[in-house]
């Protein structure tokens, strides 16, 4: 039916606006259909608009003011907040801490997720149990987990130092040591988050048709070859997705820092979002906190576009 429509259209191509001509029955039907579609979208859009977009615009507006949280009066101060941000040592320290966190945790999580996914992508009895066990930390609330891990990191009664003692190593002061606090948080986040990305990878691995592996094996490929030339390239879209998801999530790391270290010791775990939080809810400088938020948003947009251009173009979606 669509073909006949198209053939008649070819004979006498109607102008574009004709689709909106409600005198034509077909157009009226189409208009009604799209109206229904918009009506169905409206509730979701209204919620998103009210609770996501509107606050986001409001943050941009606030970033240009000297608003203090508990004082309704505020002055427009132009880009003064961004100027201050540029020269704020604590902000740049928090940027460095965040880059450190992302730079270490993202590759580790990605690699571990891939290793586990490949290891678990086989039809062995009881494999579901293993998969579930590896996924379990994802389900746990990060706040609760952070509290428990805080105990495990305790210098004198904690589990980790007990384990170190068993192998004859000196105890580490973990969350009280500026050198070890960030690795301690990374360890927790890797434990907590890897399972999620593992499941995405697992879906990707199981999605690769077995013919490719058979063909490669007939050509004499060993296991390493199979991974290098079949699994890895065919997983590229999944890796890209995981990479972007992790980047966006990791740059916003907050919960474990909030619960376990409060940014310390000696500001060694003060990441950007935690610094933003302190400005918003401790010194109550809402305008300035909004400016930090806008800067982070701009950075993440640029980062994602950059990834899409220089990494995304090398991803093949064809098989």
């Amino acid at each position: 039916m669509r073909a006949t429509e198209r053939s008649t259209a070819n004979e006498r191509r109607p102008p574009r606006w004709a689709a909106l001509d409600l005198r034509r029955p077909a157009a009226r039907r189409r208009a009604r259909a799209s109206l229904t579609a918009y009506a169905l979208l409206l509730p979701a859009f209204a919620i998103l608009f009210t609770f996501q977009f509107l606050p986001a615009f409001e943050v941009v507006r606030l970033s240009l003011t000297d608003r203090l949280l508990l004082r309704p009066d505020a002055n427009f101060i132009g880009l003064a907040n961004f100027e201050r941000l540029w020269g704020d040592r604590r902000f740049w320290n928090s940027v460095w801490n965040t880059v450190y966190f992302v730079g270490v945790s993202v590759p580790i999580q990605t690699a571990l997720a891939l290793v586990f996914a490949i290891a678990l992508a086989r039809a062995v009895k009881g494999i579901e149990v293993l998969r579930t066990i590896l996924f379990l930390p994802v389900v746990a609330s990060l706040v609760g987990v952070s509290v428990v891990w805080q105990w495990m990191y305790h210098p004198s009664v904690g589990l980790f130092n007990h384990l170190l003692g068993l192998v004859g190593l000196d105890p580490i002061r973990w969350l009280l040591d500026p050198t070890w606090a960030m690795p301690a948080i990374i360890l927790l986040v890797v434990w907590n988050g890897t399972g999620y990305y593992m499941v995405i990878y697992l879906a990707g691995v199981l999605d690769i048709p077995s013919e490719y592996y058979e063909a490669a094996r007939i050509d004499g490929a060993n296991r390493l070859h199979l991974f290098r030339h079949v699994t890895w390239p065919l997983l590229a879209p999944v890796t890209f997705l995981i990479f972007i998801l992790q980047m966006i999530n990791s740059f916003q790391v907050f919960t474990s820092v909030y619960v376990m270290t409060g940014g310390g010791p000696v500001r060694s775990t003060e990441v950007v979002v935690f610094y933003l939080y302190q400005r918003a809810f401790d010194s109550l400088e809402f305008g300035y906190a909004s400016a930090i938020s806008v800067a982070l948003f701009a950075f993440l947009i640029v980062l994602t576009l950059f990834q899409q251009r220089f990494f995304g173009s090398r991803v093949s979606y064809d098989r």
Partner: protein, 415 residues
Amino acid sequence: MRSIALAVTLALAFVATAQPLQIEVWHSLGENFGAPEFEAIANRFNEVQDEIRVEVVFAGGYVPAMQRAQAALAAGNLPNVVMFEQTRGAGFVDADAILALNPLIEADPEFDFGDLFARLLLTCDYGGVLYCMPYNNSTPLLYYNADLFRDAGLDPDAPPSTWDELHAAASALAVRDGSQLTRWGIGLATSPGWLMDAFLGQAGGRFLNDDGDAFVFDGPEGVAVAEYWLRLLADDAAVAGSNQTEDFFAGRQAMILASTANLTNYFATADFDLRATALPCHVECYAPIGGGNFYIMDVGDDALHAASWAFMKWILSTENGAEFGAATGYMAPRQSSLEHPILVETFAARPEARITYEQMASHGYPRTLVPFWNEVHNAYGAATEEILLAGIDPAMALGDAAEEANRLLRVYARD
């Protein structure tokens, strides 16, 4: 009790309506810090009169409750009465969200204002105006493990009462096994909170200068505190950490500075000869007053304010104050509560419960009341970490913190 109920009824006769007035009260008391007792006292208020219905809500700990109130203020749905931690009410006073209590007190001749501890009332005094009523107030005590004292050859009946004695005792309690310190005298909090008030005050310093227009905790007194702490660390007398309670109850740490609000719990937990004593003194004696106070929010009409005030008076009564104080270790706000049988019995059974009243009455001081205190707290916390954990020069670390505090002082003085 019946006479109080009658008085409440009379005081509210002018708002007499068929429907009881509803007021919402937020508190931050944990399960082991008086929540059940406070809720019981509040519920009794609903039983003894018909004009007011109080709904008690646990609003979370001190910080979550403050944030919840910030959100409620922004959304315009504040409750009627809120408990704020000592340093966290100032932001709401600054935001004009709180009712000044002076007019209510002046218009209420039967309210025995003079019976309240004057030094506790200072914690509610913002520039000469009273904005709250002291409720779950506390001071820090020096708790110590008398078994370890005996083991180290110290007299458990003569605990340290000065900085020098504390240093000597803590050094004597230290036990080192090779590279590991297996026992130490006292813990130094890397996030000292009110203990910074205590040490700074004992050294003769203050957070703010007398005019209240500059933070001066980076002065010679602040540096003296840092240097004292560093000496304790250098002599193995102390360990810098955050979770000291476990070490104290495991017998690794001999002394701990902790709130009198822990009194009941600590004595129930300890399986050793636990003792408590007043804070040590140095240049002067100084005990910061911590805990929380109740504020009437400036919402609703006069009738709701009067109802909130009636509830405040109920929880502040001699008997109810004594009951709450005895159950927790917090200080009853009224002097007459100390003569009430409930507290008399408590003091007889647990003399340590009296210590906080003694040091409060002679040298208890309010915390610093500025709207941005949380950030000042962060700043000197970070400085303490720099000093104790990273070996940064105390004058420099404290100087940076004071600079941040003074910057905020200027930000908030903009109008």
